[in-house]
């Protein structure tokens, strides 16, 4: 039977914390989701594992993640430090094998810096060209331009599943289908999507899919790179070290098979186990429940916010995740964030690591409220009251 929200909130100790003497209202879930008790206690247990059991637990965690995103094989799951690390791995290794002078990489205008800069570094290294898929004023990708943007020189398309600023859920399956028609593989940054709906990498036919643990109730420092086996086999290792080799001599080293080829050094065993545990926790709550609940909160908050004088929402796509970026007329995002913080409301302000997107929107930054299933309508009411109070303080 499904637990009630009150019961579920008890899984997250931090939600009952006080800040500045006020109850914490945590609306920065897009940056880092809070950790349920089950994860915290699990990490603690981790140190007692013996070496053999450690390896078992690590490989079991890999199999759990494989199931979680419906990958065909467990060796297609590479443990990394996070989504950023995963993208850097692909940018290096895929770039080393497939990208040459004059080739092209395509990213979208709504990307997080983590899905821009590794490609820029690659393009600089290989004298390749970075091209950009634009967005509409509503914050949707202009997919009709993809066909003409892709040329015979295009080697890869890197795109977010869900925008961390606009909340737009991109039609990723359709995008991948179109890119594949033109023989271009696709890397999907799933950081903002992994927590909100069931990801099925086979159904999407994604070539690479990356995400971070800390955005799905797991700790920082652990993340996933999913890659199709045939692609991962073709590309060289990213980092050298222990555990990633078959035989080593000063003349010639041969590398281990997948997935170990990409996991140099001592593994983040604790992180991997916690990540697997987090995925089990999410599944125990159920994606149907999560998405229904988050959709309801998004709808409620959007309606309430639009009643505030001078408030503008950035990102008005019909298909949105539970993220609202906004500004209030004449009020700097920083002022709003600073004062909401003092009311105990945690939101994010600034460019959200997406400066090119800010430029496209013609602004310096926004205030971003991002909701998780554990948030409540009462918390949103409190946020609305807070915004209204600040608006009056500054504008009236």
């Amino acid at each position: 039977m499904q637990k009630s929200i009150d019961e579920l909130r008890k899984d997250f100790p931090i939600l009952s914390q006080k800040v500045y003497g006020k109850p914490l209202i945590y609306l920065d879930n897009g940056a880092t989701s809070q950790k349920p008790l089950t994860i915290n206690s699990n990490i603690h247990r981790g140190v007692h594992f013996l070496s053999g059991e450690m390896t078992n637990a690590y490989e079991k965690a890999r199999a759990t993640i494989q199931k979680f995103i419906n990958a065909k094989l467990s060796e297609e799951i590479i443990f990394t430090k996070g989504a950023t690390d995963s993208i850097n791995l692909v940018a290096f290794s895929f770039g080393e094998r497939f990208v040459n002078e004059g080739d092209e990489i395509i990213v979208s205008e709504m990307e997080h810096h983590a899905n821009i800069i590794p490609w820029q570094i690659l393009c600089e290294r290989k004298k390749a060209i970075l091209k950009v898929l634009p967005i509409t004023d509503e914050g949707e990708l202009i997919i009709s331009e993809l066909g003409s943007l892709i040329t015979s020189k295009t080697k890869l398309l890197a795109v977010a599943h869900t925008s961390n600023v606009l909340g737009t859920i991109n039609p990723i399956k359709e995008i991948i289908e179109q890119a594949h028609k033109q023989n271009v593989p696709v890397l999907v940054d799933g950081s903002q999507a992994i927590l909100h709906s069931k990801i099925d990498v086979i159904d999407l036919d994604a070539d690479f899919y990356v995400f971070s643990g800390h955005k799905m109730y797991a700790p920082t420092g652990i993340g996933i790179l999913y890659g199709k086996k045939e692609l991962l086999n073709k590309i060289p290792p990213y980092q050298g070290g222990g555990d990633m080799v078959d035989t080593v001599s000063f003349e010639k080293t041969t590398y281990a098979e997948l997935p170990f080829k990409f996991e140099a050094g001592t593994s983040n065993f604790v992180g991997a186990v916690a990540l697997a545990k987090a995925s089990e926790y999410i599944e125990s709550i159920g994606f149907e429940f999560i998405s229904e609940r988050e959709h309801e909160l998004l709808h409620y908050a959007t309606q309430k916010m639009l009643e505030i004088k001078g408030l503008k929402i950035y990102g008005t796509s019909k298909k949105k995740s539970s993220i609202i970026s906004f500004l209030v007329e004449n009020i700097h995002a920083y002022d709003m964030g600073l004062m909401l913080d003092k009311m105990g409301i945690a939101v994010r302000t600034g460019s959200h690591c997406a400066q090119p997107l800010m430029k496209r929107l013609g602004i310096d930054g926004t205030i971003r409220a991002s909701f998780s299933f554990y948030n409540t309508k009462e918390e949103i009411d409190f946020l609305i009251k807070g915004i209204e109070r600040i608006r009056k303080m500054i504008n009236d």
Binding site: I331, M339, K342, G365, M393
Partner: protein, 140 residues
Amino acid sequence: MTINEIQDEIIEEFSVFDDWMDKYEYIIEFAKGLPTIDVNKKTPQNLINGCQSKVWLDAELTDGKLSFTADSDAIITKGVVALLVRIFNEQPAKDILNSDLYFIEKIGLSQNLSPTRANGLLSMIKRIKSYALAFNSLEK
């Protein structure tokens, strides 16, 4: 009034507030009262980096005393820089150089600004002191 006398005055004014929103309300009043900076002074040279908002600060020397004008695109930041202007305006350059800004901690600004934000405030002070240093050496 000396720098410390003005600091004490500010501490006294803030002591009546125990709620942060009231403090901010007061800071906003300061911001609204800050004389408008000459548009020509909002140059890249006068822009201070180091926080989420933009701050411009300009200084002029008349009769051995410094006068400051400033602006920010964020109103809290503008209020904070207005406090600094109130403290340092018309003060001798060497007093500015030797000043210790204890009011920041006393009114709770330091503990309530995150490291990057505090750096914004620190950058403002650093800029003011560097003006003072420049003018001080000019005078000699």
